[in-house]
């Protein structure tokens, strides 16, 4: 059910940002490297007649050898939907922040940072959103070891100003 004008537009966009396009379950997927993720987002935001200008979701993914940031885009006025997957290295996960396009991406990126440790360059205040500030480790990564019952039963001491 993907409209062919959307397929054509996304094809041009993929050529421009040298990403691959494939289709899974009726939704186009554009996989790009993290360096030109912002370019892909900007392009998708103002595609000619099928603009995907509403960021539904931004989430992190952990695939053993590298991390991923998945943007689910669609539009409030049309039925077009696009999924942009930006590959990020595992040891130094850095990517440009999408808050320059949507102010709403602020919390979504803070959650991705808190859970996966992905640094978003240009984010207004990139701090942990769910866990307390001096919590070490990134819980959603596959290699994170959950602490034992006894360790979690000990009440943590709050540091000043929390």
């Amino acid at each position: 059910m993907v409209s062919d004008s959307l397929r054509a537009r996304v094809g041009e966009l993929a050529a421009r940002v040298n990403g691959e396009v494939e289709e899974s379950l009726g939704v186009l997927e554009l996989t790009v490297n993290h360096s030109d993720a912002i370019e892909a987002l900007n392009g998708a935001k103002n595609l000619v007649d099928v603009p995907c200008d509403f960021l539904h979701d931004l989430c992190g993914m952990d695939l053993e050898d590298h991390l991923e940031v998945v943007y689910q885009l669609s539009s409030l006025r049309g039925a077009q939907r696009l999924r942009i997957i930006a590959r990020v290295e595992r040891d130094n996960p850095v990517i440009d922040s999408a808050t320059r396009f949507w102010k709403g991406a602020d919390f979504l990126e803070r959650e991705a940072f808190d859970m996966f440790g992905i640094q978003f360059k240009g984010h207004p205040n990139l701090k942990r959103i769910y866990m307390w500030d001096d919590f070490e480790g990134y819980p959603m990564r596959k290699d994170y070891v959950i602490e034992s019952h006894e360790q979690r039963a000990i009440m943590r001491v709050r540091k000043e100003g929390e």
């Binding site: 709050r158 000043e160 100003g161 929390e162």
Partner: protein, 118 residues
């Protein structure tokens, strides 16, 4: 003029004795175990942020001042309102002079903007 001040004296004595007795009973019977955590200030379960001793806007204080002025005025009005028919016209006029003076004060406060609520 009924002069049985016994009732008033009884009421005064009762008004003093009751709180003293209640406070004594509470002091004796209620468990009193203060420890450090209990005496910390309650701020929804967190450490209080910043200082509480800060300078805030003055119009809150002015509002309170204007209120106390007119609250005291109404206290004077009560006895007068009950007995002004017996007191004759002189007291009647005299109280209105008192009210007018306070109205002037109210007008001045209003003009000076003491009642703006920002």
């Amino acid at each position: 003029m009924s002069d049985n001040f016994a009732a008033v004296g009884l009421l005064l004595a009762f008004a003093i004795v009751l709180p003293v007795v209640v406070m004594a009973v509470v002091h004796l019977l209620a468990p009193h175990k203060p420890h450090k955590e209990k005496l910390t200030t309650y701020e929804c379960g967190n450490e209080p942020i910043g200082r509480a001793w800060i300078g805030f806007k003055s119009n809150y204080f002015l509002y309170a001042l204007v209120f106390t002025a007119f609250d005291v005025e109404t206290i004077f009005l009560y006895p007068w309102a009950l007995t002004f028919r017996k007191l004759g016209t002189f007291a009647f006029v005299e109280m209105f002079v008192f009210i007018i003076i306070l109205i002037v004060g109210f007008w001045y406060a209003w003009k000076e903007g003491a009642l703006e609520w920002m």
